[in-house]
């Protein structure tokens, strides 16, 4: 195996000979395909392969972001959030989004508990919780969640028990769906950065 690796290096990328042991070590232990690439190809080809990889990731990121807006998961306010992220606050969007999902969990569970008290439902509590959730979903740009909060608030104001229960279930599903989507988006960002690329500005 060692001899084979040596032949690969000497023939295909002599410039990497110096750190070949390191490469092999990393390749075997971390299974990073990037380093496997460098085992097989000359360095210029490696650069070009990386550029293609970054470009592909960036295109996937743009397409995914645009789809989130078009499908109504996100709206302009999410764009505003991104404006607030910079070198001083590089993880702002992720932090705010995490806070929002924690809020969702807490408020939805409060409302579920209130609605569970059949015959003695505290609609005022449900109302104030949904008001808070509506506010934070609006600030984050979670368009679908906000829309459902509006409906839930109406059911609550008219003390429509069945409506509240149904709506709350939908809010629960919706926030979890958004959470998964945003996680995918953040993962894509990380992959781009790890590959040495820049996260593109997406014009909606």
């Amino acid at each position: 195996m060692e001899k084979l690796c040596d032949y690969f290096f000497i023939y295909f990328c002599p410039n990497l000979m110096i750190c070949k042991n390191l490469f092999i070590g990393i390749a075997i232990s971390n299974k990073l395909y990037i380093f496997f690439f460098s085992l097989l190809l000359p360095s210029r080809r490696v650069e070009r392969a990386m550029d293609t990889l970054i470009a592909q990731l960036q295109r996937r990121f743009c397409d995914f972001t645009i789809s989130l807006y078009h499908q109504g998961f996100l709206d302009d306010q999410f764009t505003e959030l991104k404006k607030l992220q910079d070198e001083c606050s590089p993880d702002f969007v992720a932090e705010v989004v995490t806070l929002f999902f924690e809020d969702c969990e807490k408020l939805i569970s409060n409302m579920a508990r209130a609605l569970d008290q059949t015959g003695n439902v505290d609609f005022k509590l449900v109302g104030s919780s949904v008001h808070q959730l509506k506010g934070s979903s609006s600030s984050v740009g979670a368009k679908r969640v906000k829309g459902l909060c509006v409906t839930l608030k109406e059911c609550c104001d008219s003390q429509n028990y069945e409506g509240c229960v149904r709506c709350l279930q939908q809010v629960d599903i919706e926030y979890k769906t958004l959470k998964a989507k945003l996680q995918d988006l953040f993962n894509l960002e990380q992959q781009i950065v790890q590959a040495g690329g820049r996260i593109p500005q997406v014009d909606i």
Binding site: Q77, E80, K83, L84, D86, C88, S89, F92, E95, V96, L99, F100, D103, H131, Q132, K134, G135, S136, S138, S139
Partner: protein
């Protein structure tokens, strides 16, 4: 860089929601303001140095022990808060002699015209609908300028500031004064020794150190 922060606007943000506090804090920081956040109206009053009497919640007294070391240029508060609402806080600030000059801005997630007009009538400078955007905060600069300038005219002004800002001081309009503040910041990083070493400037220094009233600035400007 440390000196630069002194010339930044200091905003007191009041909101009971942690999420909203984080949002408004970042928005204000992005607009180059120094921010202090509190989660209630009563904490805001405490921070300002206004003690609320436990026996009579309507009575306000400036605590003799608490000196307001922090200069606040603007208060931005949520309307809907448990206990003291943003409107109550607005009223208390405007009723106090010491703090009524601080501009107050109200935020709310609900668009209720009656609420908006009530707040504006009580003395609020602006009423923002949530979610607040970066563009909304640009409206705050003129309000904050007013308090900053008032305080600056009372403070003894450093010589360096006078040297560079004198061309603008002749006309005391808001627009020209706005230019002065950025110059302060530029100044801090510049070398001032060469400028002050000339004889002319030394003469001005003597003039400045004896009398710091505004009219004297005009004399200085004309001499150059």
């Amino acid at each position: 860089m440390g000196v630069e922060t002194e010339s930044k606007f200091h905003v007191l943000a009041v909101d009971d929601s942690l999420f909203d506090r984080k949002m408004i804090e970042r928005l204000l920081q992005k607009s180059s303001c120094q921010v202090t956040t509190v989660d209630s109206g009563s904490k805001a009053l405490e921070f300002l140095g206004l003690r609320v009497d436990d026996n009579d919640p309507n009575a306000l007294s400036t605590s003799p022990q608490i000196h307001q070391e922090v200069e606040i240029n603007l208060i931005i508060t949520d309307y809907c808060m448990p206990g003291m609402t943003g409107y109550d806080l607005l009223k208390k600030v405007k009723e106090s002699a010491a703090f009524r000059s601080i501009p107050v801005v109200i935020m709310s997630s609900e668009n209720v015209p009656a609420r908006i007009s009530r707040c504006l009538e009580e003395g609020a400078e602006e009423f923002f609908l949530k979610p607040v955007k970066l563009a909304d905060l640009t409206k705050l600069k003129p309000h904050m300028m007013k308090t900053k300038l008032k305080k600056e005219s009372e403070k003894p002004v450093a010589i360096e500031e006078i040297v560079v800002s004198k061309p603008e001081i002749e006309k005391e309009e808001d627009s020209s004064v706005i230019e002065i503040l950025p110059l302060h910041q530029e100044l801090e990083s510049e070398q001032l020794e060469p400028m002050l070493s000339s004889n002319k400037r030394k003469a001005m220094e003597e003039v400045i150190s004896t009398d710091r009233s505004r009219p004297k600035y005009n004399d200085i400007t004309t001499s150059v």
